[in-house]
Symmetry: C2
Subunit: 640 residues, 2 copies
Amino acid sequence: MPPSSPFLSDVPAAEALAAWQAVCGAAGCPALTEAETVPVQHGVGRVTAEPVWARRSSPAFDSAAMDGIAVRAADTVAATETFPVLLAPESFVVVDTGDPLPEGYDAVVMREHVHRTADGSAELRAAVPPYQHVRSIGEDISATELLLPTGHRLRAVDVAAAAAAGVTELTVRRKPVVVVVPTGDEIRPIGSELGPGDILDTNSLMLAEQAKESGWEARTTPVVPDDPDRIIAALREAAAEADLVVLVAGSSAGRDDYTARVVEAAGTLAVHGVAVKPGHPVVLGAVEGGTPVLGAPGYPVSAALTFEIFAAPMLARLEGAAPRERPFVSARLARKLASTLGSDDWVRVRLGQVGGEIVATPLPRGAGVLTSLVRADGLLVVPAGVEGHHAGEQVRVNLLRGAEEIGRTIVAIGSHDLVLDIAASRLRQADPRITLASSNVGSLGGLVAIRDGLCHLAGSHLLDPETGEYTLPYLDRLLGDGPKVAVIRLVHRDQGLIVPPGNPLGLSGIADLARPGLRYVNRQRGAGTRVLLDQELARLGLDPSGVTGYGREEHTHLAVAAAVAGDRVDTGLGIRAAARAFGLDFVPVAQEPYDLVLRADAVDDPLLAPLWDLLADPGFRAEVEALGGYSCAETGLRIR
Amino acid sequence: MPPSSPFLSDVPAAEALAAWQAVCGAAGCPALTEAETVPVQHGVGRVTAEPVWARRSSPAFDSAAMDGIAVRAADTVAATETFPVLLAPESFVVVDTGDPLPEGYDAVVMREHVHRTADGSAELRAAVPPYQHVRSIGEDISATELLLPTGHRLRAVDVAAAAAAGVTELTVRRKPVVVVVPTGDEIRPIGSELGPGDILDTNSLMLAEQAKESGWEARTTPVVPDDPDRIIAALREAAAEADLVVLVAGSSAGRDDYTARVVEAAGTLAVHGVAVKPGHPVVLGAVEGGTPVLGAPGYPVSAALTFEIFAAPMLARLEGAAPRERPFVSARLARKLASTLGSDDWVRVRLGQVGGEIVATPLPRGAGVLTSLVRADGLLVVPAGVEGHHAGEQVRVNLLRGAEEIGRTIVAIGSHDLVLDIAASRLRQADPRITLASSNVGSLGGLVAIRDGLCHLAGSHLLDPETGEYTLPYLDRLLGDGPKVAVIRLVHRDQGLIVPPGNPLGLSGIADLARPGLRYVNRQRGAGTRVLLDQELARLGLDPSGVTGYGREEHTHLAVAAAVAGDRVDTGLGIRAAARAFGLDFVPVAQEPYDLVLRADAVDDPLLAPLWDLLADPGFRAEVEALGGYSCAETGLRIR
């Protein structure tokens, strides 16, 4: 069933937003929420609906700006060091700072400059100019002056100044109300036990909290099943009490068509599909009566970004305030970034300050990877007309964390290990300003990142088959005459075969991988675990082509374990912690050192000092060894 | 009575903060507030008290990443364009995006690539690699991975990710509670009628709201009179239920001694006086039992800054979070800034982007001028060891507003007029992103600022005595071969003598200023009003030395009116609006044009377009003329 009225599709975000606003306006949505009056004490966070003019001056009277005596300046004109003037007690008044200037007096002499005689007179040794040490009426605020314009979001200092200016009530915009309507037969409330195919309703929680983070009101309705009539009814009901409705679709590809038809039936469809990734399948429209409705895609990153790109500006507009804007920084891109033409690509990046420069490392780009948004320090928008960026290019990044905070982030790129997570958490606990951010690109990728100055640390466990040594031979080959590096041992850890619970195929080592029909999953080229496998196969005289699945690559230990857990494969090589993450069993194959590589001159960087302290901490070592599969016997040892 | 225990005085802020924390710790203040458990739905804004580990993987199962059919990759190996493979209906399953991958299947073929035959079979024309279009279990989150570290302030995306990872409860720090205790016989609750010398309790409101702005809890006790025993009792009572007490002193010079003695009596005094301006008289200590107490100075800017410099970091520490930090920008200083050695000087500045560069204009520096903080876009800290900065120097400014917002600020420096306030408010109302910020330095100062590229607009009403023309002759003299400028007429306005209500001395014009004993107050050199007076005196053949008070200078129309209202003078020359601000009368002397000067190439700057539109708006003109004393007959006319 094609929609019956014209709507926009695949348009840029700005065009989509304008079309949405136009459709809502035409359907009767007011330009602004109503004005309402609140006591000045309750004004913070609200947006002024009219200018705030001072009703009285502050201070409201001339007052002493020093402790001392109030005098008439004219009485002191003749005073000099040699011929002091003596003021009789009835010709001056003792005042403290803040006291009103007594009637008829026009200056203050500091206590320190007054000599009081025995009869109570005051001796002055210098003439006093009029207004000396007098804080004038209206010094801060003059009655009738403009204190705050319309459309200003009130802060603590604003309401205090308004109160000082005699304002007792403020006229502000009613806070917009967002109602979130989750839909979908497979959606279950948070905290539910999940059956096969069930999905927790985390999107509604996120969208409602995004609204509240900006100071708006938000509530969420119960989940509505996949029945168009019930969804239309729920949408109309929500619209009756909302300034904006967010209809949360499931994540299937056809779900946006479904949402679009529902919006069309309940009012007017303005936009279906925008040239934004992730977020493309967004639906924008108005319910009868004009309430804006945003049909949010089901993938969480899409949902979060469409709220930010469309709902937030719409709500700010309704409140009469400027939309929230984040600062930008310029950063050097850590690796090549491809982008499809025709869509703005919102790439989540980690940021760190390495060698005096901010470096941006792209995070996983899938619309379903919410943790990419959790871990992001910034958003890099690759415009629709750009095919991507080269590694090392300067890019403009919208900051999600403070620049100062980013300057205190230890950037680790390379092989990832759970021990780095434990370190990150303990470092933060000791000092909340420290972040250890690690990105997983494999051991070899990490060494390249060190060479190119893109990170502080690289986790590495690369075995050199010729020497049997780990990591060091690679450094010589890769860095040659490049930057001098240091190597610090983090842990020894067990590598082995990750197998289903109970090890149903009875695997006992690498030799079993050649069994006919056994499904193996490999790690990517450049990963230390891949090198270990190749070395073990060679040692045993086995040909990789005899291992079914040797060509299937996953990029992390956890992804290998996930493939085993999902019964897509029978086994893969990885660390014990990954097996435990999915409740799997583990057949040890080798113990290997896992080291941290860094530039030699960075060893004394104060940024890293807390990490070196941590490696020496017995509590940390005990926590790591308690995981199983780790040894801290050489933790903290400088290998090179 | 000298304090009985040692305490620090006049130390730098960092040292004072450390001493305060040490004293509180020694007195029994816990390092952190207790951990408590909240449902994941209520986590936003709270700080994690322990790391959040994923309890389950997300997605929790392998699922289709496209709409299409689930297949076994092995069944498709032989498929080519010329020899398609036909899958019988029992060999594939139709799936929608998000559906769990059916047991035994390992890949998905997009709907678009499947040809369905009449008997329901699926024809494939290409082999399918395993895992194609499969979203793997754990793609977003793997069970046991570190999701969030300790000490992390939770956002919407964080709680959504935690919920997706099977977390239903979060362990967070209890929100710190601030209790504000206002003291002083002269302090009246907001909304009170004020008697002579009374002061509204705006500081308590501001301090409590500053705490709430950071997400902490805050409440304010009733005002405690100036009785040490009652203040000590109130302090102890507050400390029993607070994590931090703010004791708000009055503003007199001796009040901090008083506060220090009270803190000493109720516990331990750590610091009395810091090397920070404004904010010097701050008192820091601990109540018995260890509750930190901050004795805030009575001047509002001092109170606000001491909260920010001392209370906020202390509260963040108690919550286990990094203190809030604002971004910095580099800006060009618009004018010379002197600073006393020995104290960090916190200077409030306005910021604007002029000619591609951020320019910082210092605001009034008095500790009592709260509007300087209201109007500030940033804080410039001149360190204790620096005597100041030259005009044009690059300085580092801590941003109070967003950089984007600052880029959309029209900076007016020069003579100020109430009409600019009305324009500012109307511009904001039309588009909440626009700010018109004006600083008053007099007409001549404004023209110099235009010459030096420090502002977009300069308000000017400079009379040239020789030609009788306004502003234009000065431009030729001042700018010479410098930048080409344009001049736009804003209004004509009445200048006249501001007199007490009823004009008790019966003044009728400038000639009366020579009356013996009459007290006049003048404007500063460079002000258009000063030029007008000199021109009128010359025309009448009067000698300035015959005007009592000719040498007393105020910097604004409103300050002149304030001096008349405070009965410090009998009259001064100014505009009608200033007289009305203080309920005074007005004797017209002349009508003068008030013009806006700008660089010629800025006339077409899109930043200024809304202003030109406004000048043509009949509603704006009507509002201006309704003020009285203004004519808009030539408003918007380009004079040059």
